[in-house]
């Protein structure tokens, strides 16, 4: 085993200190070390998008970063978007518009879309499809996901046409 790395990282607003092997992927760190199993792992080569988290506010593949690279940075996972009692409007919209079936892909869609909806308060269908093109869903056929994003835009920025 290689030398352990002293990692300090803020996840969903909470600061954590852990010793990790450098080769530990950020996705595995979140799931296995912190128990934040909302971040899913599908392919581990950047294609499926299930592992997407917000790294200093920007969506990235957590399977394509090593945990030490998060040292001193801020991460938000799907667990940090809303609470069970108070879902993020995007989460509500996914529920209301049937934007998920098995839910495996959903955390990656949500984390990819939160910054998108901030910069695109009133997105077109093409913009939405481009924004979700880095996330694979094997269940929904995407139609309901697109509907959910439109609904979320209305909920979050309603009337701002």
């Amino acid at each position: 085993m290689s030398k352990l790395f002293d990692l300090q990282v803020t996840v969903n607003g909470k600061s954590y200190q852990r010793q990790v092997e450098p080769r530990m992927l950020l996705s595995d760190f979140l799931r296995h070390e912190l128990g934040l199993t909302g971040t899913h792992v599908g392919c581990e080569h950047g294609v499926c998008g299930a592992c997407t988290v917000l790294f200093d506010g920007e969506p990235v593949r957590s399977c394509l970063m090593f945990a030490p690279q998060a040292h001193g940075h801020e991460i938000i996972t799907v667990e940090g978007l809303g609470t069970i009692d108070q879902l993020h409007p995007l989460q509500e919209a996914f529920r209301d518009a049937h934007g998920l079936q098995c839910g495996f892909c959903t955390p990656g869609f949500l984390t990819s879309l939160v910054p998108f909806l901030e910069s695109h308060p009133n997105p077109t269908e093409d913009e939405i499809r481009e924004a979700i093109s880095g996330n694979l869903c094997r269940c929904t056929g995407y139609v309901h996901i697109v509907e959910a994003v439109k609904l979320a835009a209305e909920k979050m920025h309603g009337g701002q046409a």
């Binding site: 080769r23 080569h45 950047g46 998008g49 997407t52 593949r61 399977c63 394509l64 090593f66 990819s112």
Partner: protein, 291 residues
């Protein structure tokens, strides 16, 4: 799968990074955006013993005007930054046009210009474009620096002129001459997927409206970016016309590329695409040059 163990260094400056590369040489690899290296490590296709993380080296991320009217790009500049940079849009429109076609936005948030060139994937847009634009690459080591032309940098599949202890630090894109036009044409399943075939072209007209210069290169067309030498020869000194474009496309698709069969497309289909895409690229590039 999971990557094999390695020793991890996070140098705070380029000097420190160069010293680490000098010390660890063959066993070490720089880690840029990690969007190609980490998948390869996860598959254990790459097993470096030491990783020198360039992400903390802030001095390698910049886009600056060059004195000759071109641009200087720091190797650690992320795709996302290049995509929305105004100087790039103005002085290197071919690069600007390519950015949305390079992977999805999550990958562009991490992937870097230098990492893409150092990785030397013959399907990568920036690899071919740097050849089309006659880019020059600055390679630094603890003992000095040298500039290498894109043409001499890409040696084969994932193989470059970089020595084990060297880091690619800067890319110089020379300006396009006046009366020039450009075009990037690709066929891909989705716009940002790796293309089955692609061509990047820059053409220049002289005062009489004849082709004074033409630079083409193909992506996904061989084990390295393939220069469209024969296509360019057909164009030089001629007036643009549909017939000329057909002849150049024919020459390019039959003589300038070495496509292979894989699960995505046959070599024959790739040659067909090269022919059609070259014609489209020339139509667009010459129209822009004349505008």
């Amino acid at each position: 799968m999971k990557p094999p163990p390695f020793e991890y260094f996070a140098p705070a400056s380029l000097d420190e990074a160069l010293a680490l590369m000098a010390e660890h040489g063959w066993d070490a690899k720089p880690l840029a955006g990690g969007q190609s290296l980490i998948p390869m490590m996860n598959f254990r296709l790459a097993q470096p013993e030491v990783l020198v993380d360039l992400n903390p080296v802030g001095e390698l991320a910049y886009i600056r005007p060059a004195d000759d009217g071109g641009v200087l790009i720091g190797a650690m500049t992320r795709h996302k930054v290049v995509q929305f940079d105004e100087l790039i849009a103005e002085r290197a429109p071919l690069v600007h046009d390519a950015m949305p076609r390079i992977a999805t936005h999550q990958v562009r948030n991490r992937g870097t210009f230098g990492g893409s060139l150092a990785h030397a994937d013959p399907a990568a847009e920036l690899v071919s474009i740097s050849l089309t634009l006659n880019a020059r690459l600055k390679l630094q080591s603890a003992s000095g620096e040298r500039w290498v032309a894109a043409e001499d940098f890409f040696l084969g599949l994932f193989t470059t002129a970089l020595e084990p202890e060297e880091i690619l630090t800067e890319i110089h894109l020379p300006p396009m001459p006046g009366r020039s036009g450009w075009s990037l044409q690709e066929v891909a399943r989705r716009p940002h997927d790796f293309a089955l075939m692609g061509v990047a072209a820059v053409v220049t007209l002289d005062e009489d409206g004849r082709c004074a210069a033409a630079s083409l290169s193909y992506l996904s067309a061989g084990d390295r970016p393939m220069k469209g030498e024969h296509a360019s020869q057909v164009l030089l000194g001629e007036k643009p016309s549909a017939e000329l474009f057909r002849a150049a496309a024919e020459a390019g698709a039959s003589q300038d590329i070495e496509p292979s069969d894989d699960i995505h497309a046959s070599a024959e289909f790739r040659r067909h695409l090269a022919n059609v895409l070259t014609r489209r690229a020339l139509e667009e590039a010459f129209a822009r040059a004349a505008a």
